[in-house]
Structure formats: structure tokens, C-alpha cells
Amino acid sequence: MMETNNTQNKVLFESLFSEYVDVVYRLCLYKISDQAVAEDLTQETFTRLWKMMCNGSRIDKPKSYIFQIARNLIIDHYKSQKTLSLDALQEDGFDPKDKSIGPEVESDISLLKDSIESLETDYREAVYLRYVEGYKVKEIAEILDVSENLAAVRLNRGMNKLREKFTKS
């Protein structure tokens, strides 16, 4: 019985990992703009998920839970970075260029942030999930753990606001 349950958990975990590992990685990359840190945070996200599953905790909404873990880890990372100065890091031989992503991707992320992060808080995640991940309203609602209608409200209003920021090319 124990082996069967563990096997079920492993199958389910690997299914979630397979489906969301790149999604979480891109979210971390978008927020942090550092490839190595994005990989670390992605791994930590799924480590925590696996530990929760192994502890027998019931997780009713795994998609929402995965994103919540990732968001919390990103926030924790920002907080920890505030306590370190760049000068102190460079004294230890740290060169920020070593761990940064390529200049093209960095430029892309910067451009996206200028647009999306200037929206109201409620709209940002919905717009990000639609544009970058291509999710529909139902999936966005599951991830954000809100009703489909509320997700649609946020998405539509966010997209309308975003369009106002575009110049005519």
C-alpha cells in the first residue's frame, strides 16, 4: 500500500513538474533576470512541492500552489538581495555579468517589464500569463485561484490598458 501511494505521488509530481517547470522558470527569469538564480528558484519550487506531497498534505489546487511557492521564493530572493551590496559582492570576485542572461533576452525582459509592471497589480499576472504563456481565462483563473469571471475581468481590463501604452507602428 505504501509503495503504491508513493508511486502515485511520484507519477503525479512528475506530471506537474513536466507541465510547469518551464513556466516557473520563465516566471523566475522574468522577475529576476538571472538565469542561474531562476534555475535555483525553479528547483526549490518543485522541491517544496514534493516535500509537501511526501508529508501527506492535501493540496486541492496544485497549479495555484506551485505559482504561490514560486512567487514567495522570488520575494524572498529580492529581500535577501537588499542586504548585499554590489561592492561587497565584487570584492569577493563576483561579477554580475557572469550570471546575467544574454543581452537580447535581458532587453526583452526589460521592455516587457516596462509595459506589464506599469499596470495595476491585479492585472499584471493575468496579462503576463496570457501573453507569455498563452493561457486561456480558465487556466489563468486556476493559477490565480480566482473565479473565471474575475480572471476575465482582470485580463480584459489589463489588456485594454496595455494597448493604450503601445504606439502605432
Binding site: L12, Y30, T42, V132, N149, K165, T167
Partner: protein, 263 residues
């Protein structure tokens, strides 16, 4: 600073294409299992969604029980204040709502529930049972439906349904205006005594009739209680006749009553 849409789309496309290699993913899994080996896992299986199954099962059991005992059918005609009213509004109606799978169907059903709430208040009035408690129960349930409709104004991914949103806003503003009107009249009556005697035995019915004219159930649900408002007015009935300010709604109220009493 404005951005070109084409630049934005290109940036989105490049970010969307960022993925981890299979080698990195495999290494991640190995590390995860190394930190929490499967052998140490507890026997409780990970199953998500069971809580919702339990909810559906529990609700189904309650509904079957209610139907089999005739309670459900009896609750359909219940009014605010009846002990079965909660069965109708908290069990049967949410169950019926859940049977509408599309947002449009759910919102149409909610609008029909709003109409039902209006009819209930009208029925309360006809039966002389429009107490404060009953009308407040009705108002709480109605507000909840309006709140759901406000959140459910979007029918599809294409955009907001402006017609429904506009209807909801109009309904809400009517309620607020009406509530303000009643509140103003009550406050005026409390502060300015009306020119009316207290001894006339027909006064109760006259005042009652006048207050009922103010609360027109055909427009919006009742916000207050007719009987309570009558009591408020009666409290400030004449001790000493004082002039009522021009333009005060109380003045017109008392003039009509005075006329009816042939004073």
C-alpha cells in the same frame, strides 16, 4: 514611454521560447529526490480535488433528504423570516445555479433570482409581514446576488458585457438612492415634530398609508420596514406644534396627513 506593439510581441515571443534543457530538468529531479527520498514518504496518497467531491456528495445528500421529506418543495414558497427560507436561498438556489455551466446562463439565472427577491418583498407586504428582520434578510440575499452579478459581468473572453454591467450599476444606484431617500425622511421626522394630533384613532392608518406610498415596491426592493417607520413618525407626533422648514419632505408629508384628517 510608449512601446511599439511589434517590439512587445517580439519580446514576448523570445521570453516564451526560454526553456530548460532536458539535462537540466533531469538533474533537478535527481536533486529533488535526493533531498526527499521516496522511501521516507508517508503512506498518505496525494489526491487533490477530494474536498470538492466531499462537498458535492454532502450537498447531494442534503438535497435528497430535503426532497424526500418534502422540505425542499415547501421551501420554494418560503419568504424571508420563514425557517425554510434559508433552505431555499442557501441550498436549492445555489444548487440550481451550479447546474448552469456557462457564465451567461449563471448570470441569467441570477437576474431571475433578483426578480424573485423583489416579488418576495411584495408578498411580505401583502401579508403584512414586512418586518425589519425579514426585509433585511431579503436585502442581504439580494446584495449577495448583485455582488455575484457584478463579478460575473464578463460573459466571454472577448470582452465585458456592457449591457449587463450597465443594468447592475443602474440597479445598485437605485437601491442607494432609495435608501438615502428613506434615511433622509426618517432623520427629518426625528428632528422636526409634525403638526398632527396624537389622539386621532385613524392616524395610524393614515401615516401607514403615507409611508407605504413612499416605499414603492414596484421599483426596487424595500429598504426599510413600514411598521418601524410608522413608529418613528408617531414618536415625534405633536407635543408642541413647530413650524416645519420649507422644502422639507416632512412638511409635504404632514400637510397631506393634515388634509386627510381635515385639521
Amino acid at each position: 514611454m510608449k512601446t511599439k506593439k511589434s517590439q512587445f510581441d517580439k519580446a514576448v515571443s523570445r521570453l516564451s521560447s526560454q526553456t530548460l534543457s532536458d539535462e537540466v530538468k533531469s538533474r533537478m529531479l535527481d536533486t529533488i529526490y535526493a533531498e526527499t527520498p521516496i522511501a521516507t514518504a508517508t503512506p498518505t496518497p496525494f489526491v487533490y480535488g477530494w474536498s470538492s467531491w466531499y462537498r458535492y456528495a454532502a450537498t447531494s445528500f442534503v438535497v435528497i433528504f430535503l426532497i424526500s421529506t418534502g422540505t425542499a418543495y415547501a421551501s420554494l414558497d418560503s419568504l424571508p423570516g420563514d425557517w425554510l427560507y434559508g433552505v431555499k436561498t442557501e441550498v436549492l438556489e445555489p444548487l440550481a445555479l451550479s447546474l448552469h455551466f456557462e457564465a451567461e446562463g449563471k448570470n441569467r439565472y441570477r437576474l431571475s433570482l433578483l426578480q424573485k427577491r423583489i416579488e418576495e418583498v411584495e408578498e411580505l407586504k401583502e401579508q403584512g409581514r414586512a418586518t425589519v428582520a425579514a426585509v433585511r434578510i431579503n436585502f442581504d440575499v439580494t446584495s449577495d446576488i448583485v455582488g455575484q452579478l457584478e463579478n460575473g459581468a464578463i460573459f466571454s473572453e472577448e470582452g465585458e458585457n456592457e449591457a449587463i454591467s450597465s443594468e447592475i450599476r443602474s440597479y445598485n444606484s437605485k437601491i442607494m438612492d432609495f435608501d438615502l431617500q428613506i434615511d433622509t425622511i426618517i432623520k427629518e421626522v426625528e428632528t422636526v415634530p409634525a403638526i398632527m394630533p396624537t389622539t386621532n384613532t385613524d392616524l395610524d392608518s393614515v401615516v401607514n398609508e403615507k409611508v407605504e406610498e413612499i416605499i414603492d415596491v414596484d421599483d426596487v426592493p424595500k429598504m426599510g420596514n413600514v411598521a418601524e417607520e410608522v413608529e418613528v413618525i408617531k414618536k415625534v407626533l405633536p407635543k408642541t406644534p413647530l413650524p416645519i422648514p420649507e422644502g422639507s419632505p416632512v412638511k409635504s408629508l404632514s400637510d397631506e396627513i393634515v388634509n386627510k384628517l381635515d385639521l
